[in-house]
């Protein structure tokens, strides 16, 4: 009997490896090999079409990076953008989730309203908002001027501080819904009896939220925060289409700067160093979150 089991086990083992192999190959080719090659490229000089042989230059590109103001600016923009958007998305997301957890008529349309911003292509969404922010013909200035809230057009995307806020609003609008969906799923898994028990103890709604709901939502909130923070740290097409990183470089994210270095300035190897640093930033952020998740248990 043990003989047949182990044959079955071995067959299962080999079949399983056969089933997994194509996926592992594709992921290795598209995700793992390129990041490894980027690391190699960042330590050398070469040309994009392979006409010049690779020459090792050590940390030259990294020391150039440290002395490039535009890199520090892009890092600052990316971190600021993340620091503004994530807490706002979390607050709006919790609010939307609590709202969706109530029973009311027209739930289908409300759910579509929550899902729709998530489903939109970020690039086209950025164009849509760029049109609304347009200082001459945009919806926002039309409303602001006609209602008398402003006496001259507001330059939503043309002022350094305002552009960052405008860009953050677009991101918050688009991605709070994702937070809301994850948190809503968490809300729906909380047993009703807990609230009944709370009511017996004479808890107010706020106390219920603080003492029952929030602690049980910690796991889904952390998951949503990880996913969203990683997205915010690599934001690319939003500034690409909304502001092209401007005015000057006020909204130039790390991804956008790296893209310009690689494909506009054709500084292939310096760009590789940039993306490696960006990867390290995201990796560090994930470690922080993983540490937080660990502490939960």
């Amino acid at each position: 009997m043990t003989g047949t089991t182990s044959t079955l086990d071995r067959r299962m083992q080999w079949t399983g490896i056969g089933f997994v192999a194509p996926t592992v190959l594709v992921i290795a080719a598209i995700l793992v090999y390129p990041i490894l090659q980027s690391i190699v490229l960042s330590f050398g000089d070469s040309s994009i079409d392979g006409s010049e042989p690779y020459r090792f230059v050590g940390l030259a590109h990294y020391s150039q990076l440290i002395h490039t103001g535009r890199f520090w600016n892009a890092l600052g923009v990316t971190l600021t953008f993340t620091a503004i958007t994530i807490p706002c998305e979390l607050l709006v997301g919790i609010g939307l989730a609590l709202l969706m957890n109530e029973s009311f008529r027209g739930k289908g349309i409300a759910r579509l309203a929550v899902l729709f911003p998530w489903a939109l292509p970020t690039a086209l969404n950025a164009l849509m908002w760029r049109w609304m922010y347009n200082s001459d013909y945009g919806l926002f200035n039309a409303l602001a001027l006609q209602s008398g809230l402003a006496d001259r057009p507001i330059n939503w995307l043309g002022d350094q501080t305002l552009a960052m806020i405008s860009m953050s609003i677009v991101a918050i609008w688009k991605t709070s819904s994702f937070m809301a969906l994850i948190i809503l799923a968490g809300l729906q898994s909380i047993p009703r009896e807990l609230y009944e028990a709370g009511r017996m103890d004479g808890m107010s709604r706020w106390q219920e939220f603080r003492q029952i709901t929030l602690p049980l939502l910690k796991a889904p909130i952390l998951v949503a925060l990880i996913v969203r923070s990683m997205d915010a740290l690599r934001t690319f097409e939003l500034p690409f289409n909304l502001t092209d990183g401007g005015p000057v470089t006020a909204t130039e994210s790390l991804s956008l700067y790296a893209y310009k270095v690689i494909f506009d300035f054709i500084e292939f190897n310096f760009g590789a160093a940039l993306v490696v640093v960006q990867f390290l930033v995201i990796f560090a952020m994930s470690l922080v979150y993983i540490f937080l998740l660990r502490n939960r248990d």
Binding site: F19, P34, T122, V227, F240, N241
Partner: protein, 275 residues
């Protein structure tokens, strides 16, 4: 919640959220239905005066490449969805059911690689695709998107397979069925809701993907909708009547899919993130 005032507050909040959610797309659709004069008029026209389909007709007759972008997006999206479901289905089944050694480690590794920022893949992918002649080919972008979204597919399908009762497969194995036949004729028919939800989300991901589609399709005629429309404006002028109309056309497929399958998509998203 039986008193009237909280109900009113609740409905006010719901209506307000829905308005904020739909405002940009409604404004865009209204813009696409205005004449060029109407778009740039002062005082602003909130409703098109007159309503016109001029911009849509213009795109069909003068700039059909904008429609070609949508066709390209469909080809890449369907190809990527089919490839992801086929490969990810097999892998997800093996990792959740076939008791491979190291399956857990492999699942975590697959999740970890999704951390790579897409832009960090660009220098190398561009170079490799150039050497292999894969730039500006559907095959190339389909492979790239499949690689990008396979981790998500594997996780979604693996967690779906884990909910199936194991007895049916065991009985089939007693009857001497091979693993591939079990997967094809028992597991797939039982898990089609999982495949549908995963497939829809992967299609939306592929439709919306920007950096790889931007860099791997450099020929105008091969561009996908988000990239083609974004690059359409050119250097100086920004023809909003064309841009708004093309954007509406490129968003409609996504809007329709989301509206019809909202339950499946929400179910899939929350299951995927709950792990």
């Amino acid at each position: 919640m039986t008193t009237a005032r909280p109900r009113i507050a609740l409905y006010t909040l719901v209506v307000l959220s829905a308005v904020i959610s739909f405002l940009p797309i409604v404004w865009l659709i209204l813009t696409s239905l205005k004449t060029s004069t109407g778009i740039y008029a002062w005082p602003p026209q909130y409703l098109p005066q007159p309503f016109t389909l001029e911009n849509y007709i213009n795109i069909i007759t003068n700039t059909p490449e904008l429609l070609l972008y949508v066709v390209n997006s469909f080809i890449v999206g369907i190809g990527c969805t089919a490839a992801s479901l086929a490969l990810g289905g097999l892998a997800g089944y093996a990792l959740s059911r076939l008791r491979i050694r190291g399956a857990r480690v492999m699942m975590v590794a697959i999740l970890a690689v999704t951390m790579f920022p897409p832009v960090s893949l660009l220098p190398s992918l561009f170079q490799t695709f150039l050497e292999l002649g894969l730039l500006n080919t559907y095959t190339g972008l389909i492979i790239a998107h499949t690689g990008l979204f396979l981790p998500f597919t594997v996780w979604m399908l693996a967690s779906y397979f884990a909910t199936l009762p194991a007895e049916i497969e065991e009985a089939a194995r007693m009857d001497g069925m091979g693993f591939f036949r079990i997967f094809r004729s028992i597991v797939i028919p039982l898990s089609w809701p999982g495949f549908v939800a995963t497939g829809l989300i992967v299609f939306i991901f592929s439709w919306n993907e920007f950096p790889l589609a931007l860099v791997l399709m450099t020929q105008n005629s091969m561009r996908t909708a988000p990239v083609g429309i974004s690059l359409y404006p050119g250097e100086y002028a920004f023809p909003w009547e064309t841009i708004s109309t093309a954007t509406v056309i490129a968003i409609i497929p996504i809007l329709v899919i989301t509206a019809i399958f909202q339950k499946q998509i929400v179910g899939g998203l929350t299951a995927g993130a709950g792990k």
